[in-house]
Structures are given as structure tokens and as C-alpha cells.
């Protein structure tokens, strides 16, 4: 079983950057309201902290996106989709999609396309981690927490087989002899 390794970002590092992002968003949307849309499950802690760092009125909602499953394989129906949609309309709202990580941009691109047809007033994204070196889709991500390398991280929402999301900091995950490949 891989083990939690050295700390990549402390809780204080994350809190500091989240406060900066919250202040930036509050300035940009002064006098307006926001709908924060978190993508489950990785973004839950970031959404909670970011929301409390924003000073303008806001609503919170969550999306859940599919991952490839046995069910998909058997039916041949293999494409990304919402497992949980938003509970409210986004029309004429200032929507900020909050994700734990952007790499290829393909997932966020799908979310953007899906939400854009519902005609929000504005649609932006806020990501905790960015891996621009893996980007395929040129998306304008307005709010970025940290640019990070290709390492495997756990904690603060990031998981390994659903474990370690609850760590209050972000750490490297060390591979084990039994599982040399983490990704």
C-alpha cells in the first residue's frame, strides 16, 4: 500500500492562497452575487474554505461527474456525463466552477459546454491545482491556486482509492514495491 510522504503544501499555505483567491473574487464581483459550483468529490474542502473567504453573497451547489465503470464498459456507453446535476438553474447567474485540479482541461471543457447552454451571466473557473503542462484545451481559468508538477498528491480533497481526502494538508504519495505505479 502506498504511504503518505512528505508535505507538499501545509494547511497554512493552502489557507493563505485560498484567502487571496477569495479576496480577488470578492473584488471582481463586488456588488454582485455568485454561484459556486463545486465538482465532487475532490473540491469539497476547497469549496468550503473558498466560500468562507469570499465576502460577496454566494450560493453553493455541486456537480458530480461520471467515471468509467464496469457498467459503462458492458453497455458500451462510455462518455462523461453528470451523475448529479445542479439543484438550481444557472441562467443569468455569475457561476464559478470550483475544481481541485485541472490538467488536460477536457473535464472542465465538458462542464463549461454543459453549463454555457443554460446561459449563465458569467462563467469562470477556480482551481486549486493547475498542471498546464498537460493542457489540451485552451481554457481561460481565471483563478488558479498553485501550478504543480506531475506528482501524485493526497490530502485536502485529493485521494488515493478514496482515502486521505481528509488530511488538512497536501502530501506526496510514495509508491510501494507492490504498487510502483500510482497513476
Amino acid at each position: 500500500m502506498p504511504e503518505v510522504g512528505a508535505t507538499f503544501l501545509t494547511a497554512a499555505d493552502i489557507a493563505r492562497r485560498t484567502a487571496e483567491l477569495g479576496a480577488e473574487i470578492s473584488r471582481d464581483y463586488a456588488g454582485q452575487e455568485i454561484l459556486l459550483v463545486g465538482t465532487l468529490k475532490g473540491s469539497v474542502f476547497f469549496v468550503a474554505d473558498l466560500a468562507r473567504a469570499i465576502t460577496v453573497p454566494l450560493e453553493i451547489d455541486f456537480l458530480s461527474l461520471s467515471s468509467y465503470t464496469k457498467e459503462h464498459k458492458e453497455t458500451g456507453n462510455k462518455a462523461i456525463r453528470f451523475l448529479k446535476d445542479l439543484d438550481q438553474p444557472v441562467k443569468d447567474k455569475n457561476v464559478i466552477v470550483v475544481q481541485d485540479m485541472i490538467d488536460s482541461g477536457l473535464t472542465l471543457h465538458y462542464v463549461y459546454r454543459s453549463l454555457n447552454i443554460r446561459r449563465p451571466r458569467t462563467l469562470e473557473a477556480c482551481v486549486l491545482f493547475d498542471r498546464p503542462q498537460l493542457r489540451l484545451v485552451d481554457l481561460d481559468v481565471k483563478y488558479v491556486g498553485f501550478e504543480v508538477p506531475d506528482d501524485f498528491f493526497v490530502g485536502y480533497g485529493f485521494d488515493y482509492r478514496q482515502l486521505y481526502r481528509n488530511l488538512p494538508y497536501v502530501a506526496y504519495l510514495n509508491s510501494s514495491p507492490n504498487e510502483p505505479e500510482l497513476f
Binding site: T69, G76, A79, I80, Y110, L136, F183
Partner: protein, 118 residues
């Protein structure tokens, strides 16, 4: 390829794609999973001609994503291949500055494919 070919819903070419490498196959699955329309090797770019106009060097990127107006070339792990492709991509950008192309490495696609369980 030894894999049972999946049902590609977002392939937009006319001729059945004949993937040359496992990486290309993984890339196609990744695009399809994300509902991104893709074409396989739809265009060849001439990079070099001799004095008589004969083609000396050409380059056919692996994929074209029409909705993103983006060509994608994927590479294998071997450093010699990576170097050669880097050179071709650089040359293509010089000759055809209006063309958008991205070079992605096998490890990146493997990583993304595993992330999505493809």
C-alpha cells in the same frame, strides 16, 4: 491493436482509424470519453521541398479536434522518437503559424487514461 475496438461515438473521419500505437488508441479513447469530436490523421503538412518541388519532408499529425481547431501529436517513450517529433512540430509551427498543434507524451496520456479508468 489487440484490444477489442471500443465504440467510438465522436470519431468524425470517413475511414476507419488504424492506430499505429497504443498511445494513439489511448488518446482516441480519452477524446471520446470527453465527447470531443476527433479525426485521425486527416491532413499531411509539407515541411520541405527540393529545388524541383518534390516533397522532401512531410508531417501527418495523429489527430485533429475540429471543435477545438487543434492538431494533436502523441509520442512514444523512446527519446529518439520524442526528439524527432519535437523537431517536426517546431518546423510545422514555423511553416504554418496559423495551425495549432500540441505535442503530448505517452506518459501524459497513460496518466490521464488511468485517471479516468479508460
Amino acid at each position: 491493436m489487440t484490444d477489442q475496438p471500443p465504440i467510438f461515438s465522436y470519431f468524425r473521419g470517413t475511414k476507419e482509424p488504424a492506430f499505429a500505437t497504443r498511445t494513439e488508441f489511448e488518446a482516441a479513447k480519452l477524446f471520446d470519453y470527453h465527447r470531443i469530436a476527433w479525426e485521425y490523421e486527416p491532413r499531411t503538412f509539407i515541411l520541405e521541398r527540393d529545388d524541383k518541388g518534390n516533397i522532401q519532408e512531410a508531417f501527418t499529425p495523429d489527430f485533429y479536434l475540429p471543435d477545438l481547431e487543434l492538431f494533436v501529436e502523441v509520442t512514444e517513450m523512446k527519446q529518439s522518437l520524442v526528439t524527432a517529433k519535437n523537431r517536426k512540430v517546431r518546423k510545422l509551427r514555423e511553416k504554418y503559424p496559423e495551425v495549432r498543434i500540441k505535442l503530448l507524451y505517452r506518459k501524459d496520456f497513460v496518466r490521464l487514461a488511468r485517471k479516468y479508468g479508460l
